[in-house]
Amino acid sequence: MVTVNGHETTGVVGQSITEFLTKRDAPLANIVVERNGEIVHRADFDHTLVEKNDKLELISFVGGG
């Protein structure tokens, strides 16, 4: 089971990080993805695939400063 921000999520195994974020309508440019404790660098979004039992944390930023 894949967990995303602590919630169990189905149907995402095999998706690239880019696909996974796009399908969630997540604002791609404003998000940093942590996968099993490691940051997935943006350059690796297209070829990093979500695997069974992955723990994903999405760190989303909002504008203002």
């Binding site: 440019a29 660098h41 944390e57 930023f61 909002v62 504008g63 400063g65």
Partner: protein, 217 residues
């Protein structure tokens, strides 16, 4: 340390630091004076953070911002009307030097990109993110984790609108990452000095704690 610097406005380094030590937390001033903090962004967050760190005598600051001062900044950013059109890093340095002329302040008037993160943050003990743009915030976390995974990174996200002060917090979601803000309010709601300063205060206090060896939030 800059003890040998000439007097400024009739005040010596010793004068200014003796006064500062009276009110700084006991034993903190020497550690603060030797710390290097690089602040990325000199707007509402960055200008307020820089002032706070300057006042307590953080000894080495690098200010980075590509932008110039404009009128729409004045509701929250620590510039003066006389500084319109001046590069923000130049204007901020001028203001900081009036609070403490004895700290070292370097300025970089450029946009931070993934490609220059390695060079711009090489001297930092602590990296402070103070951008407005959410994609720039994400970029810096990504790049800082790549080039400087062992340097603490203090960030701000969500300080807009007129929501309760008490929704702004400091979180520590992974090693060396400190996230301040409410996490949700967006700049399009409007950004005003009181709430932006709360978030800036969270960032500045976390940086102070880190310099003084406290890594918990």
């Amino acid at each position: 340390m800059n003890e040998q610097q000439p007097e400024v406005q009739g005040l010596s380094y010793q004068d200014v630091y003796t006064g500062m030590k009276e009110r700084n937390v006991k034993g903190s001033t020497a550690k603060l004076a030797s710390a290097h903090v690089t602040i990325a962004g000199a707007g509402g967050l960055g200008s307020n953070i820089a002032i706070a760190l300057t006042r307590i005598g953080v000894g080495h600051l690098i200010l980075i911002d590509f932008d110039t001062v404009e009128l729409s900044n004045s509701n929250r950013q620590q510039f003066k009307l006389s500084q319109l059109d001046v590069p923000k890093v130049v204007a901020l340095k001028q203001n900081l030097q009036e609070f403490n002329p004895f700290i070292e302040i370097k300025t970089i008037q450029e946009k931070v990109t993934h490609d220059n993160v390695k060079a711009f943050f090489a001297q930092a003990d602590i990296i402070c993110e103070a951008f407005d743009n959410p994609a720039a915030k994400a970029m810096l976390l990504d790049a800082a984790t790549e080039f400087y995974p062992n340097k603490p990174l203090v960030m701000g996200t969500g300080m807009a609108g007129i929501h309760s002060s008490n929704t702004i917090t400091t979180k520590h979601p992974r090693p060396n990452l400190y996230l301040t803000g409410d996490g949700t309010s967006k700049g399009v709601e409007g950004l005003m000095a009181p709430r932006v300063m709360i978030c800036a205060g969270h960032e500045a206090n976390m940086i102070t704690r880190l310099i003084l060896g406290k890594t918990t939030v």
